[in-house]
């Protein structure tokens, strides 16, 4: 189990309370305030959803698209554990963390979106199970996968617990000694017990972790395809450009290429944001995989349209054809650019192509869930400001959490060739250290 080695990762050093922290926190607070409004006055008070468009931005973005964007962990795990490319292992922890946030918050969004969340316990009551429903499969898989991701992230937490000397807790206790009924020695003793516990759990977890990880590959394969199956029933409402029996397959491939592209984007952005060197070797390797997946996806799309006689509709240049061509064009252009080895070596091109492909892949999901969905005459939908701000708040919370956690736990890949003081003294974050160059 040595590929679980913790020496591949390090804690990002730097202040937690940065300006971006405060901006994100503000957005988060606005979003969560509006969520409170929704629970007091009903969904209609904040959203433009209607009986014709019962699924709006929350389901389309937060759930259907957000989980695809959170597929970085899934895509990188396939590469590392199934295709045995251990050189990508350093990328996996940050990918798992973003996946955990993506999926956890998708689950949270669902609880905001559904009208009667207190009845959700019915998912665990066998007499209520409804195996015909793609939604049932999606719900169980997403809950299970979020748990799996949390377990996959556990080694980072355990590792941190073993190495910390609780400097922050000590500072806190020193400052507030005697208040809140906290007795410094007792608290420290308990914290030390926690460390002992982490030491005991770690080896046991390492032994079974691979089976959890493989579960973390199986579950997304199931529910990502089922996210496509969800719209199979809407044969009279979903435009024929998108309604096909191949929806499950298209959603599965779609989440894979979005997953790899997002892994590239995350790495480029965090290298840029945290002023770390780019992980060029791994990134161009990831980028080489993407065109095969997108190529397969585009082939299935075109083949299916031809088979169902919808090619003319696709080229009609009306509203639906426009969005179809945009989605298709974004994915295709991003993929074509990636066929050049030279571009795959450039962070700039990697960033541009990954953005194109993620946008195209995400637009596909929007097309299926919203834009290509027409319940009949007289129905219109465009998200309200409050609805939008709730989604923005949830996404802001996601980025905020990532920013904070990479500074608390060893998540980002270890820098090679840099003598990094954080390694030798992993405790003591709050030194007034300048950001890594």
């Amino acid at each position: 189990m040595k590929n679980m080695s913790h020496d591949e990762y390090q804690i990002q050093r730097g202040k937690i309370l940065t300006p971006s922290f405060w901006v994100l926190l503000t957005l988060t607070v606005i979003g969560f305030t509006l969520i409170a409004v929704r629970f007091i006055w009903g969904i209609g008070a904040v959203s433009n959803m209607s009986d014709g468009y019962p699924w709006g931005l929350w389901i389309t973005y937060d759930v259907a698209t957000g989980t695809a964007i959170a597929c970085g962990g899934y895509a990188v795990a396939i590469l590392v554990y199934i295709r045995n490319k251990m050189s990508y292992h350093p990328l996996i922890r940050s990918a798992v963390l973003t996946s955990l946030f993506g999926y956890g918050l998708a689950g949270f969004s669902v609880m905001v979106d559904v009208g009667r969340p207190w009845n959700a316990y019915n998912f665990f009551i066998p007499s209520q199970w409804q195996a015909n429903s793609a939604m049932f499969e999606v719900a169980l898989c997403v809950m299970a996968y979020t748990t799996v991701l949390a377990i996959e992230f556990l080694p980072a937490v355990l590792n941190r617990l073993q190495q910390t000397n609780w400097s922050r807790a000590r500072d806190f206790l020193d400052t507030y000694h005697g208040r809140f009924g906290l007795d410094t020695p007792v608290v420290l003793e308990k914290l030390d017990k926690l460390r002992q516990l982490a030491l005991r759990i770690q080896p046991k977890l390492d032994k079974v972790l691979i089976f959890v990880i493989v579960l973390g590959i199986t579950l997304p394969t199931m529910h990502q395809s089922s996210l496509g199956s969800l719209l199979l029933i809407a044969s009279t409402k979903l435009h024929p450009l998108w309604h096909t029996g191949f929806l499950p397959l298209l959603f599965l491939i779609n989440c894979m290429f979005i997953g790899y592209s997002i892994a590239i984007l995350e790495s480029v952005i965090s290298s840029y944001g945290f002023k770390r060197p780019f992980e060029m070797e791994q990134l161009s390797g990831l980028a080489a995989i993407v065109p095969y997946l997108t190529g397969l996806w585009l082939a299935v799309v075109v083949g299916d349209l031809a088979w169902r006689g919808q090619l003319a509709n696709a080229l009609r240049l009306d509203f639906y054809s426009g969005f179809f061509l945009l989605e298709f064009g974004l994915v295709a252009s991003g993929s074509l650019l990636l066929f050049s080895r030279k571009r795959r070596q450039s962070p700039r091109w990697l960033f541009i192509t990954a953005v194109l492909i993620v946008l195209g892949g995400a637009l596909y999901r929007f097309n299926v869930y919203l834009i290509g969905f027409n319940p009949g005459q007289g129905w219109r939908y465009f998200p309200s400001l409050a609805e939008l701000l709730i989604t923005v708040g949830i996404v802001a919370f996601e980025i905020l959490g990532y920013q904070v956690l990479v500074k608390l736990f060893p998540v980002l890949p270890r820098l090679h060739g840099h003598e990094d003081p954080a390694v030798t003294q992993p405790h003591d974050l709050p030194q007034p250290a300048p950001q890594q160059a």
Binding site: S229, S235, P248
Partner: protein, 310 residues
Amino acid sequence: MSGKSRRDFLKLAGLAGAGLVAAPALAVAESAKAPVDNNELGMLYDATKCVGCKACMSACKRVNSDYGALSYEQAGFDPDKLWDAPQDLTGSTRTLIKLFKESPSEWSYVKYSCMHCQKPSCVSVCPVAAMVKDKITGIVDYKKDACIGCRYCQVACAFNIPKFQWDKAIPQIVKCDLCKNTNLKSAGISACAEVCPTGAILFGKRGELLTEAKKRLAEQPKLYVNHIYGEHELGGTNHLYLTALPVKKLGLPELQHDAPAEFSEKIQHTIYKGFIAPVALYGALCFIAVRNMKKQEPDVGGKGDEKHEP
């Protein structure tokens, strides 16, 4: 060795992919339709007999308001709340009469309510079995104590029948249950059919209603459009319509004869039959991953073990 496991992976991916690809093709190939049950309960609405008195609407709300959490809907011109004035089926209105008027001589009333499909999409998609079809009466009923409010039934229904209470903190789905929980128990008939003064709404078994509809079509072929709406739509519905104008003009969707739920369930069942495919996928992936890991061990082994257990 990495090449070999990669081949394995591709093989596996190919298998899984092939399964998924084959699924829709299989689903389309088989089209064994479920038989229609004509003993189920339903209603026949004859638009030519309807005078638009809306007695059915008021009876529906009177009988079901407590059970269905229905409230009266106020119109903008009515500050004193004298009338119930729903504009459409809503979270407070299970049935509605509308007037379609093309010219002074060409007009028709039309009644909207749940069609009680033979193979209802809403029942097929509900993840927690909150939409259920009664095995004997065929009534499609809603159980609010199970419902999580995901609104998948609304997405799935081709008739746009289930409505959601958007303005309530504790909302529910609202749709006609043929008075299963109210008037049917006490009076043996749905409230709308009971109060209809002209016999425009007939209540009974689907088979009998169908016979009656065919009889009317044969007796007065000039009066009606030669189409019993609901006889074949989406695999057949228990609520049937006879109209003098094409149904599309009356706001009823023109639909294919196959039930969408047959199509989606066939694909879902093909992928998840006996849960074999997911388990096989998990097993195969475990095998590959563990083998990969074993191969890895000698390379990194030794030094790692002591390292992270200080």
